[in-house]
Structure formats: C-alpha cells, structure tokens
Symmetry: C2
Subunit: 147 residues, 2 copies
DNA sequence: TCTATTGTAGATCTCTAATATCCATTATAG
DNA sequence: CTATAATGGATATTAGAGATCTACAATAGA
C-alpha cells in the first residue's frame, strides 16, 4: 500500500504555485519541467485539482494555473482525497455471509453487524487523516523557510 | 490507496486462531471456508505469517496452524507489515535532480536534502502506525466480547 | 480576424502489483 | 503405507497506476 506518484506531483505542483506571485499564472510547461514529469501526465492531475476547486486554470495564450484559494486553506488531506479518491483505506470483505454470524462482527446501535477489524482500521485511518488535515500547503512553505 | 484484501484475510484468520483452544491446530480447510476464500490463496498468506513468527504450522495429517505467541503480543501493525511490506507510505520522487535545488527540500542535520512533503507524509504515517501498534488481536477480541 | 498558445477531454497503451490457481514435494499422524 | 496437510515454485488473470497522443476549445496579441 502506497500513495500514488500522482499525489506527490500534485502536492509539489501546489507548493510551486503557492510560491509564485499572486495573480501570476504558471503554465503546464514550466511546471512539468520543474517537477521532472511529462506535460500530458501532469495536466491530468491539474485538471482534477481544478475540478475540485483547488486551482484555477486559464486556457489560451499566456494561460496557466494558479491557486484558487490561499495556501493555508488547502490541506494535505483534501489534495489526497482528490487524487486518491475517497474510499476508505480498509474495506472489510463484507456482504460475505460468514461475517453475519461471526466472532469478529458486533452489532452496532442500529442492529447492523459491524466488522471489528474494520473498526480498528477506521480508527487508524482517522488518526492519519487528522494529521493530514492539520497540514496545509502554507505550513510546508513556512517550515521550509526556517532553513 | 487501500490495504490489500490479503491483510484483511490475515487479520481475520489470526482472530480465528486466537479464539480456538490452546494447543489445538486449525487446518487451512476450515479456516478458508470460514473466511470465504480459497485454500490455495489463504495458504500463501499463512506461510508469510509463519515465516515471520506470527503463527506456527504443523505439516502432515491433523496438522494446521496456531498462534506462535499470545494474542496480545500480536499487533495490527506487525501483521500489516508482514503482508503489505515495509516500504513507507509515501516515497518522494527523489534522486530527481530538481529536488536538490528546490523550494520543497530542506537540508537535514547531516546536510542531506530532505523533501518537505515527505516529512509531512511520514508524520501522518507515524500517527497511523502508533494506533495500529496499540491494537492487538487480543484487544479486538476483548472489544467483541462486550456484545 | 488570424494565429500561436495553452488547457481539456477522450481514447488508448504499457507496466506493475494484487489476486488467484495448480502442482510437485515434503512432512507426519495413525 | 497411506491419507492428510503445509510448502514453494510456477503461472495465469485482473485491475489500476502510470503515461502518451490527438482532436478540440478558449484566449491573448498581432
């Protein structure tokens, strides 16, 4: 299990945009060159970020991308959700009949059986998400400036 | 990004073993039936758990598997590491020359450049790992018994 | 208006890892 | 011995990530 490369590119691209002058677009070309990735591949990633309102894009000559919000309003968690999708990290093999009658399932308040393994994994995921929610594009930039 | 199905099978199988009488082997057949997975596939998973000292296996007639340690000495984190491998959740596109001179890299104590995105992701992973370390096969069983 | 530039969307291709199965071999209880 | 059961190797199969290409739409500037 690993984060995709796309997530890495997205985060680095956003940091790059955050560091550029306000109101100044950056085209896919310099962005792709700077990250060492092809333009066509990065453009797919940027499109996702645009569809989710994280960046703005201007088409046409001298167009490009800029952040749609201030860098401290863009959390790692949100970027990851956009790129990786929002399915949970662990999905119990539910619907499988065996769980309905089993040791590792427990009825929740509504009487529905819930997998106990799933519960632990959800807890673990939540821990990670809280950390990623607390970290923004801006906070990374700030931590870099103490160099 | 998701945990593999194998991890789910491994955890459920271990809970199953933990609930059986001490000193009593469970064969791959009833185990696989109970989890709703093929014997051949599950046996690969069990072999990994054995190689890592989490379960013991007895070959031959009336052989089978049992826990190699008490259930409270088997953490979720360890099981996940055995099945998923130990690479970190996020690996920065390092070695890429661009990072050596870039905004999102900072020199660590030894003078080596470290990726700032990587640092945040490592922090997030650590949060999750601490939680998974604190949860054992036994703790899941205990939480189930209050049903 | 024309043209060069730039992002968008769809199709498609490759490659890898997860999932899954089969079989020959080894080990052991009875 | 024999039936049973785990092991390890080889080998599909599949899904998703990674990556590229092209036709198209939008826009700035000549």
């Amino acid at each position: 299990m690993q984060f995709s490369k796309s997530t890495g590119y997205a985060l680095h691209a956003l940091i790059h945009l955050a560091l550029s002058e306000r109101g100044h677009n950056i085209g896919i070309k310099p962005l792709a060159t700077s990250l060492g990735v092809s333009e066509s591949y990065l453009s797919k990633i940027m499109s996702k970020l645009r569809q989710d309102g994280i960046v703005r894009a201007v088409t046409g000559a001298s167009g490009g991308y800029e952040l749609a919000r201030s860098a401290d309003q863009i959390t790692f968690l949100e970027v990851i959700h956009v790129i990786e999708g929002r399915q949970q990290l662990f999905e119990c093999l539910n619907g499988n009949a065996h769980l309905q009658k089993e040791f590792s399932a427990i009825a929740d308040l509504s009487g529905r059986k819930e997998c106990l393994v799933q519960k632990v994994m959800n807890g673990a995921e939540l821990q990670m998400q809280q950390y990623l929610q607390a970290n923004t594009i801006q906070s990374v930039i700030d931590s870099g400036s103490i160099e």
